[in-house]
């Protein structure tokens, strides 16, 4: 299916894309590129679309090398980060733009435009000009324009960034449904990790022009391969320590974080006994414990914040601070000493930078 191999694009000293490789597994995979601002998501997407020539690397679609196929022949549906609607055309004309170039019959064009506008909830606004629309409405026109052409692949550059939460959820759901119906691959660029988790079949987490990890939302969340991924997806506590035991068979390592306090965690990569390591724990994986046991420590509550559906507690363990998330029924008082179990710890080798 769609495959990119070792894509590189440098702007002077800026390594916008620095060796990106991934392959979509299925014809109708919904694949996200997730990462912080400036990590090279847009550049990668534009290389796939054919809007930028990579300095190095190839792009394949099916079994064909399309690296040198010009953009207008690639038949992609692209939603630009800044919409790029034609200001001198009405909503209808914007959505119909690609269809007219394909010389489809008038009837068919009207039908497809109508379908696309209904999907994004913009029926009735056909005759407006982009400047007469709100930002969110413009963004939806851009989505409609991309899907109306029934492209060979859908490329989205943060297409929902300007929609309110309700609308975003609805359009997001319909995008996936449509994409599965059209049976075409979709690449979805976003810096919103929550969105990437719900929408994607798989996610590639990017950082500084490189891919840190590719995996299903579950894998990315539960088994981050690098501290960056653990930090970027959801919230994580990070502790530093020294490896005191490694069980490669079970994939578990024991790390001493303080004199006399050791934690067990899943290995993200190989670590050596005696080397420095980082442990990450998500706030919701810290639970109150009744009795002593593995990964059970005593700590003191120093801050309590009510978040409606949960509590956000700050605990201290000597000079280490931990965030704990509990259900709203767990009532602790500031100053209280509690036993907590740190579950699902992940152990990363500490890299020298």
């Amino acid at each position: 299916m769609l495959k990119v191999v070792n894509l590189k694009k440098y702007y002077g000293k800026t390594r916008a894309v620095d060796g990106v490789t991934f392959e979509l597994k299925r014809k109708d995979e919904f694949f996200s590129l997730l990462g912080p601002s400036g990590c090279g998501k847009t550049t990668t997407l534009r290389i796939i679309a054919g809007l930028i020539k990579p300095d190095e690397g190839r792009v394949y679609f099916g079994n064909e090398d399309i690296t040198d196929v010009p953009v207008e022949k690639r038949e992609v549906g692209f939603v630009f980060q800044s919409y790029a609607l034609f200001p001198h055309m009405t909503v209808f004309e914007n959505v119909a733009f690609g269809l007219k170039l394909k010389k489809l019959p008038e009837e068919e064009i009207r039908k497809r435009v109508k379908e696309a506008l209904e999907l994004v909830g913009l029926q009735g606004l056909e005759d407006r000009y982009p400047r007469q629309l709100s930002g969110g409405q413009q963004q939806r026109v851009a989505i409609a324009r991309a899907i109306a052409v029934h492209p060979k692949m859908l490329l989205f550059d943060e297409p929902l960034s300007n929609l309110d939460a309700k609308l975003r959820e609805r359009v997001r759901f319909e995008l996936v449904e449509l994409q599965k119906k059209l049976k075409i691959p979709a690449i979805y660029v976003t810096h919103d990790q929550a969105e990437a988790l719900v929408i994607s079949d798989r996610i590639a987490v990017m950082n500084r022009g490189r891919i840190e990890q590719i995996g299903t939302p579950y894998e990315i969340y539960k088994r981050p391969k690098t501290p960056f991924v653990a930090d970027f997806i959801g919230i994580s506590n990070f502790l530093e320590g020294r490896v005191v035991g490694v069980d490669n068979e079970k994939g578990i390592a024991t790390v001493e974080i303080k004199e006399g306090i050791s934690l067990e965690g899943f290995l993200s990569r190989n670590v050596h006994k005696g080397s420095k390591a980082i442990i990450s724990i998500r706030p919701e994986n810290i639970r109150l414990a009744q009795k002593e046991g593995v990964n059970v420590v005593e700590s003191k509550v120093v801050k309590k914040t009510f978040l409606g559906d949960s509590y956000d507690y700050r605990l201290v363990l000597g000079d280490i601070e931990l965030r704990m998330k509990t259900g709203p029924e767990v009532e602790l008082e500031v100053g209280q000493i509690v036993k907590v179990e740190l579950k699902e710890c992940i152990v990363f080798p500490k890299e020298r930078r």
């Binding site: 010009p70 953009v71 630009f80 394909k102």
Partner: protein, 267 residues
């Protein structure tokens, strides 16, 4: 009302008078068919379009009018075509240099006295055999029109989001289709402004025409000069001709403001 305000209004009126008085005299001259002799020397006794009729009935003057507009339109079209590609590559930022150069040095032909420019062109033209030719005059007029057109078109291209070209490509457009469906419609106001300015520049150009074109190429401006004392003393004909010179420019500028919202103050 404050005293300062009153003074301001009076000054503004004087300025307006100062600007429009010559135009008024010119139009009056062109319409007056007979003037009072002694009293009321400043008022016409009879008015009519006699001089205009005469202008159009004098073959050489009629030819000059015709020539003026043909040259002006040719200049406008030529300069626009000449500038389209440079304005595109510079305006859209495809190349990063050039813009400042044209901004700074491009207006030299407009600010340097035309006589000096003409003196520079004369020997070249004579060598090339371009003296007294239509294309020679079109080229001479174009030199001064280039900065207006370049600036307008560059601004036009710069105002167009480069992603629009990319969007057009993504959805299957290329080359000519992109120009026709994206650039031209969005450039329209800038093209209009550029065209009007080049047109007006050419119509008003006198010195170079006189120097390089006369007698084969005689435009209205040249004829005005001749009738206003250069060769004969016929202020009424000069007035009628000048009006013919000014009115088209004024109408175009008015239409431009009205339909494209581009004010010539900005260009």
């Amino acid at each position: 009302m404050k005293r300062g305000d009153k003074v301001g209004i009076i000054l503004a009126s004087l300025l307006a008078f100062y600007i429009f008085f010559p135009l008024g005299v010119m139009i009056l001259e062109s319409l007056a068919t007979q003037w009072y002799r002694i009293q009321k020397w400043w008022a016409p006794e009879k008015v009519g379009i006699k001089w205009y009729v005469q202008v159009f009935q004098t073959p050489e003057i009629f030819k000059a009018i015709w020539m003026t507009f043909v040259i002006a339109i040719t200049v406008a079209v030529f300069v626009i075509l000449l500038n389209l590609l440079p304005a595109y590559v510079i305006g859209t930022g495809k190349i990063k240099f050039g813009r400042d150069f044209f901004e700074t040095f491009g207006s030299i032909p407009q600010t340097v006295p035309a006589v000096a420019l003409g003196v520079g062109m004369l020997p070249v033209y004579s060598r090339l055999g371009w003296l007294y030719t239509f294309h020679g005059i079109v080229l001479a007029h174009s030199v001064g029109a280039v900065p207006y057109v370049f600036r307008n078109l560059t601004n036009g291209f710069a105002s167009i989001d480069p992603e629009l070209e990319e969007a057009a490509k993504v959805f299957g457009a290329k080359g000519l289709t992109i120009i026709r469906k994206v650039y031209l419609p969005l450039l329209k106001p800038y093209l209009a402004a550029a065209g009007v300015l080049a047109f007006a520049w050419s119509i008003n150009e006198f010195v170079l025409t006189m120097l390089l074109g006369y007698p084969t190429i005689a435009t209205i401006a040249v004829k005005v000069y001749q009738n206003a004392g250069g060769y004969y003393w016929a202020p009424h004909l000069a007035g009628a001709l000048s009006t013919l010179l000014v009115v088209p420019s004024l109408i175009l500028i008015f239409l431009l403001e009205k339909y494209t919202g581009i004010s010539l103050q900005r260009v």
